[in-house]
Symmetry: C2
Subunit: 188 residues, 2 copies
């Protein structure tokens, strides 16, 4: 199945590393690296983040728990799945995902399992996004948002979700991919 000459790509060797920023919301590193062909890149930037987690959550009646949130990078609102950061050492990834679902939507309970691991950008950032599948969740509380969060909650049937995905209603690749995977895995 390999059609190119030679071996698999080799790793780079980090010769030195310097932090340009270490602020609460911004950790940026500049590496000097040597490539397998001995070429040197003097300025290679990497953003460091804690692991991220998100949830494909389904209610007992088979509806997907979606949210909408303004995202300032692209300046737009789209559908998303509940998601957050795993930045509390006493929490497991699963606990962080459960907490985010509850805080952002008030939904909880259900049967949880790992669904997928992805990277938003394996070239430029160092963290992995862990998606969990939560089946049979129900409304068990109220939203509990940070002062900087404004999140609306939406329940979508399987058919509504397919329409949202087909019409570009969801744009975050870390959310689209696990939803498509779930839909494909459970196709009748």
């Amino acid at each position: 199945m390999t059609v190119s000459a030679g071996n698999e790509p080799g790793s780079w060797n980090t010769l030195s590393s310097e932090y340009l920023y270490r602020r609460p919301w911004l950790t940026m590193r500049q590496d000097r690296v040597r490539l397998p062909n001995n070429r040197i890149i003097d300025e290679y930037y990497v953003w460091e983040f804690p692991p991220w987690c998100n949830v494909v959550a389904l209610t007992k009646t088979g509806e997907f728990v979606l949210i909408k949130q303004y995202r300032h990078g692209i300046g737009m609102v789209h559908y998303e799945i509940p998601a957050g950061v795993h930045d509390q050492p006493e929490e497991s990834l699963l606990e962080a995902a459960r907490r985010e679902l509850l805080e952002e939507t008030g939904f909880g309970g259900g049967r949880w399992s790992p669904l997928m691991k992805l990277s938003a950008n394996p070239a430029l950032q160092d963290n992995i996004s862990h998606t969990f599948l939560a089946e049979g969740v129900e409304k068990i509380g109220k939203q509990s948002l940070d002062a900087t969060e404004e999140i609306s909650v939406h329940l979508a049937t399987r058919e509504e979700l397919r329409t949202i995905l087909r019409k570009g209603g969801m744009i975050q690749a870390l959310h689209v991919a696990p939803l498509l995977k779930y839909l494909m895995d459970t196709e009748q």
Copy 2:
């Protein structure tokens, strides 16, 4: 289908903007923003990038054209689809995608159509990734790589691609999502 109180989330208002970096490979902005609830965030960081493009390319015999490349952010090699940056004003997005496929793999020709638009991170970066579908491509030339690129080319049948995706052989969400979409759209 909306279950939360209130309206859809509102946009933020950018009060001031300052560029922390404007280097060839790093454009980083710090915004001061006002939220709909009048709360102010003094330091909100956005990375600006040109549009990205990538290609779900299929040969005349129905094999997917995949590549492998070391990615320094996570320090690993995974399967990817051919991809690049749309940074030449005289090129269209489609032309940039065709050029990247040819440079990275030597494959070209075929029938091209838009498949999907995604964001790697709508909160933190401003650009969109445009995926094209290229059907019926064939080997028309040699790889033509930059001195910093080391890319191996792999052809995968539909079944091999499904195995790669199922086993975590591909991690870049911008690549996984359009492949899953294509597989779902063309499911027999």
